[in-house]
Symmetry: C2
Subunit: 341 residues, 2 copies
DNA sequence: CTGAAAGCGCTTACAG
DNA sequence: CTGAAAGCGCTTACAG
């Protein structure tokens, strides 16, 4: 059985015109409290909901935002991250009664741009972009339409200079790691950096190195692929140079964990022989032995800020004129000290 | 700049009526190839897309399906799972040019049922339910509307008897674990089962136990909370009874990993002193030392089947009459043998 | 405060 | 094969 109650049905029941029903249900001030009450009651009893299509057609809004997910450079990271972000967005979205459409930049089948399609079809009012490297097509499309958009998580590149972007400060994160390690008395470091270019990793490394050099430390820089086994192998292949240092920074937890495994196989004691720090505070960083000191990125806040920013674009909150200047908001990461340092 | 090209604009450009444009763009057979070609070309050049609201209004379809996510009994599992499922759904959805709206059963703010809202607003054409325990309201709503729906992942309960449900067979999974362990020569087992009731865990346990008893094995049954540290503690607290057995089944990887940690602290050798098996093939099960033997659930197939089933409901594929009988489709899990057994 | 009317952008009988 | 017309379920001036 389809429930197809429309405002006309309610109008008939209430003995008013359907324009009036519309006004009542939209809480228009133009309508008497009495009829409003009557109409609202009837609507409620009937479980009435506006037809989103009809409404969207006339108001030119979709009451939905799109989130663009990355293709997945490192499945583990990305997947865990999705879930967290989605959960964080939830409250904010439900409060506003706005739906969330999940998509990816490019359609696997047609190779068409999903974003353009969604926007042109009027399916969404705004865009949360969780992608590191948006295509030129995407960027120029959004720009030409001036479509409400905010980039989340990935640090801003020059490509997206005039967009809002909300991210955690990876450079500072790197600095925090270095400071922590200096406090623990270390001076000679190994850093496992990443072969592929990802700006966030680059920044972590730079923040770390800058801080180290500032305090007269030394750095043994090793390059690995971005997965557990590669990191382990890289560590094994460079054991001698590593042993000349007393602390290690793995650019994410997966790397740190792989390295830790190699060290343990060599009977190197952590942290007394060599200390080690990861990055991401991924779920399993807590379960290693010893548990891993790492950097936490406040994802909930990221989600919160990004939606606030997005909705101020959508609603053109021009009371504060800052809507016109695009913002780069960075959130400070925080050190989670555990047993590996 | 808004792109508001409509079929009327195209009609003007092509010198035909907008009805004809509609027919062309919908590839109607009622239109000559010549005008079809002309119109399609113009539309393409203009990056035209139908207004989904207008189209949805007249056709009563949304071209979107909703996925209902669980509130999250065990954050780690749930989050990782989301991501994977989403990825798997993607291909199928993009091929069909259907959008995905993510939601949860209940709105955190209004306490209203999000599913009912989405359906009544005509925002979705079908529903993928990734929840273990749907509310009575949800169930009776879907039933009364005969709304296309399929339950995914969680084994069917009596509550959802007349629904489609696609799940992996946890009972068989449990049996597989037992068989594997018997093959390795074990006869006396410890199983870490879970305090809270989750049908999937219950089934794993039952499958395991049935198989063990059938072959004359013994079982030391321990109950733990569903997290790493609880499992570790539970193991520590029961070390003596555990030592009388030679193999352990942890109802999921997290539990198995916690137990493994406790065993290693006692200098128990895995697998030579005690073997251990987990369940889920979660990302980190590979990285433990020794790596964990576990059960993999083919989530991609789950996603695939569920969408196939959903769309055959939506499209009323009555050529095969099996659309009317609700199906329980179970997929066989598979053993991933690693170094812990 | 309320109603009748126009219109949002489409699809689809109906008539030719 | 093509066009004119009706209608999907709303919102919102316009008139009273």
């Amino acid at each position: 059985m389809a429930n197809n109650v429309t405002i006309k049905d309610i109008a008939a029941l209430a003995g008013v015109s359907y324009s009036t029903v519309s006004r009542c249900l939209n809480d228009s001030p133009l309508v008497s409290d009495k009829t409003k009450k009557k109409v609202n009651e009837i609507a409620k009893n009937l479980d009435f909901e506006f037809n989103a299509n009809a409404r969207g057609l006339i108001t030119s809004t979709a009451n939905a935002v799109g989130i663009v997910l990355p293709e997945g450079f490192s499945q583990v990271n990305v997947n865990a991250y999705h879930g967290l972000l989605l959960n964080s967005l939830r409250n904010s979205l439900e409060k506003r009664d706005v739906d969330l459409i999940v998509t990816y930049q490019t359609n696997h089948f047609t190779n068409q741009n999903n974003i353009i399609r969604l926007v042109n079809r009027k399916k969404i009012d705004g865009l949360i972009l969780l992608i590191e490297d948006p295509s030129l097509e995407t960027i120029s499309f959004i720009k030409s339409r001036d479509f409400p958009s905010v980039f989340v998580h990935y640090p801003p590149s020059t490509k997206i200079n005039d967009f809002d972007v909300i991210y955690t400060d990876h450079f500072v994160g790197g600095q925090i790691v270095a400071k922590h390690l200096f406090e623990k008395g270390h001076k000679d470091f190994t850093v496992f950096s990443v072969e592929e270019y990802h700006k966030e990793f680059k920044l972590r490394e730079e923040g770390f190195c800058q801080e180290v050099y500032k305090h007269g430390g030394t750095i043994n820089n090793l390059k690995t692929k971005l997965d557990y086994w590669s990191a382990k192998k890289c560590c094994e292949d460079n054991m001698e140079s590593i042993k000349n240092t007393s602390a290690i920074f793995g650019l994410n937890d997966l790397i740190a964990l792989g390295v830790m495994r190699a060290l343990k196989n060599e009977n190197i004691n952590i942290p007394s022989d060599i200390a080690i720090v990861g990055y991401d505070n991924s779920e399993f960083s807590e379960y290693s032995n010893p548990s891993l000191t790492t950097i936490h990125q406040p994802r909930e806040e990221l989600a919160l800020f990004s939606l606030e920013r997005l909705f101020s674009q959508i609603n053109k909150d021009s009371d504060n004129d800052n809507i016109n200047l695009k913002k780069k908001i960075s959130i400070q990461p925080v050190l989670i000290e555990r047993d590996s340092t």
